[in-house]
Symmetry: C2
Subunit: 363 residues, 2 copies
């Protein structure tokens, strides 16, 4: 009974967010075409990116709203979901430039789309440079769009509102967390190794956990009129859930199946990501093995053999196991916090499902 209602309601919401995104981008498309039809590939890259995805953030936001007593299929929460999806698209566009990821969801990333466009048209100068420049601008435009959509919510998201404060904090924290992430890539090797795991955990918290689960849930709650106490309860659930989510992501980034993840195997290693998984390995492996990993992290041309050897070290030294234990602990903390949340059956079941999908996913 609850299961069926949940399925229908969630499908309705996801469809409504998709519809809102289409409407929103259609109005922007007319503005852009009035400037020049040449802008079309920029708009296309944004549309393409908001069409796919797991909609995790929008769904967290929705169930945060419903848990706080917000009505099903209300306009404001659909707009908030669309704003979160646009923000996520903007973050992905710039993230892929920063991480030099050439693929996203099995297709070319935005900067690759533009360098391919350059090549196919036989344009002058450097195609890679053009790709990066175009993707910086596409991400900026998409970031502005997310803000425009968020403002469209109106009074409950106006200046000084709780929802606005959460949205602002979310943006700042994820950008700060991403900076800490790239900083650790370059500074990690010369910083004290003892602090590496805790630095990696702090990066996870800001660049991912707060952004992917805690803030979207709180945002929905705030829009739905949640009490401060309910918002605290939301955090106690969503923060460890988000940490488990990112740790799972890190495991998939090294051990995941490219067919399921849509990204080449070992991409995280090529990008030089110093994740909790890697920090554990550097700590637990033999000095020779650690030195091997250190020398390979961040090599863009890391081959299959090296990836396989790093995987072997991570598994054998116990780093994979230690990370799985952490995922389990964070997951358990999230579930425990969820059970004491004063929610009705439907939102509680929905959040439990989301949590399960998040922690045990394969992609």
């Amino acid at each position: 009974m609850v299961a069926e209602q949940l399925r229908v309601e969630q499908a309705d919401f996801v469809a409504a967010v998709a519809g809102k995104l289409t409407d929103f981008l259609t109005t922007r498309q007319s503005i852009m075409m009035a400037i020049s039809p040449d802008i079309d590939p920029i708009m296309g890259s944004i549309s393409n990116l908001v069409t796919g995805g797991k909609r995790l953030r929008a769904l967290m936001c929705y169930w945060g709203w419903r848990g706080a007593g917000g009505p099903a299929s209300a306009k404001d929460i659909v707009t908030a979901g669309a704003a979160l999806e646009l923000f996520q698209a903007a973050a992905l566009i710039h993230d892929d430039i920063i991480d030099r990821s050439d693929t996203r969801r099995g297709g070319p990333s935005v900067h690759r789309r533009f360098s391919q466009l350059h090549e196919s048209q036989g344009w002058a100068l450097d195609s890679e440079r053009f790709g990066h420049a175009a993707a910086i601008l596409a991400g900026d435009l998409c970031l502005s769009f997310s803000e425009e959509a968020f403002t469209d919510i109106g009074e409950t998201a106006a200046s000084g509102s709780r929802a606005r404060l959460i949205f602002n904090l979310m943006r700042s924290e994820v950008m700060a967390g991403q900076y800490l992430d790239i900083l650790e890539e370059v500074a990690g090797p010369v910083r004290d190794r003892a602090g590496a795991v805790s630095r990696a955990q702090s990066i996870i918290r800001f660049k991912s956990a707060k952004y992917s689960t805690e803030h979207p849930l709180a945002l929905g709650g705030a829009l739905g009129g949640a009490s401060d106490e309910l918002l605290r309860g939301y955090s106690a659930f969503a923060l460890p859930l988000g940490e488990a989510f990112q740790l799972r992501d890190d495991v998939l980034g090294v051990f995941g199946d490219p067919v399921t993840t849509g990204k080449p195997a070992g991409d995280d290693l090529r990008e030089g990501k110093r994740t909790v998984l890697v920090a554990f390995a550097l700590d637990l492996a033999t000095p020779e093995e650690s030195a091997f990993i250190d020398s390979k992290l961040g090599s863009p041309d890391l081959g299959e053999e090296d990836v396989a050897e790093i995987r072997r070290i991570i598994a054998d030294c116990g780093a994979l196991q230690a990370t799985e234990v952490l995922i389990e602990e964070f997951g358990a903390a999230a579930y425990a916090a969820l059970e004491v949340l004063p929610l009705e059956d439907l939102p509680k079941t929905a959040l439990r499902r989301l949590a399960e999908a998040t922690v045990s996913r394969a992609a």
Copy 2:
């Protein structure tokens, strides 16, 4: 009398915007330090950038407000000025990555600051790549800040307000205009030469004229309660003024004194900018000279001698003269539109001064 009042009032406003920016960034600094002191260089790069500059956009906004009857030294217009300055800083950070400009106002640009930090700290991997990544994130954060400041204005800038619509359109148009700019750099050489001047003029309009003068003036007007008719009059003045402004910028980008502009001579040519000045030259010079310019545009290692030769061609073929004529025509159109604006003495004089400074500047 008017001159003295103008001087005092404008100085008061500029000081108030600087104070607002300091206050704003101080509160954001505390949020960032709670995440990690490692974020400090990001915040420092933003502070540094909003400290300098001509404040052209904030001043346009202010006199648009005053012309519409807004009171001197009011909180809202100071906040709007700060939001525009933050937006300009964000645009400059990303612009300098896109254009590979290593200097900004005589110092290193933000991506260079971060690659220098990388080098001075002896960090691992590639310093240039780190610099670009950090600057992408610094620009994103600054773009978010500009939005936060703008929303702080409150009701007159709320969802659906005229001011919000102008702010949104400004952002979209400048990003679209920048894309057209980089597109012309690569696609220009293979597109029809006959359309080059008109494409360059369209780029100027969107990436610069609307953004630097038309929209800021209209924004101030809308916040101050201007009639639609007054806003139309503002556009008739500010759009040609902005076009003259950018044409002057293009001339300075090739012929300007590095000591005054704070940028190396010929940087625009190294970046491959296909400005109106360059488009005229390609059209008016001999086929051999045009081919020479075409072959040199966008070479990062363009030497002093080549720059000097391109300058000679641009001057001798009449392209410089043709651009100066355009600047004069746009300037004259702006002045004519200004004279018929139904404004009091003080704002009208202020706008005339701003126009003079804009069209005849040397930096």
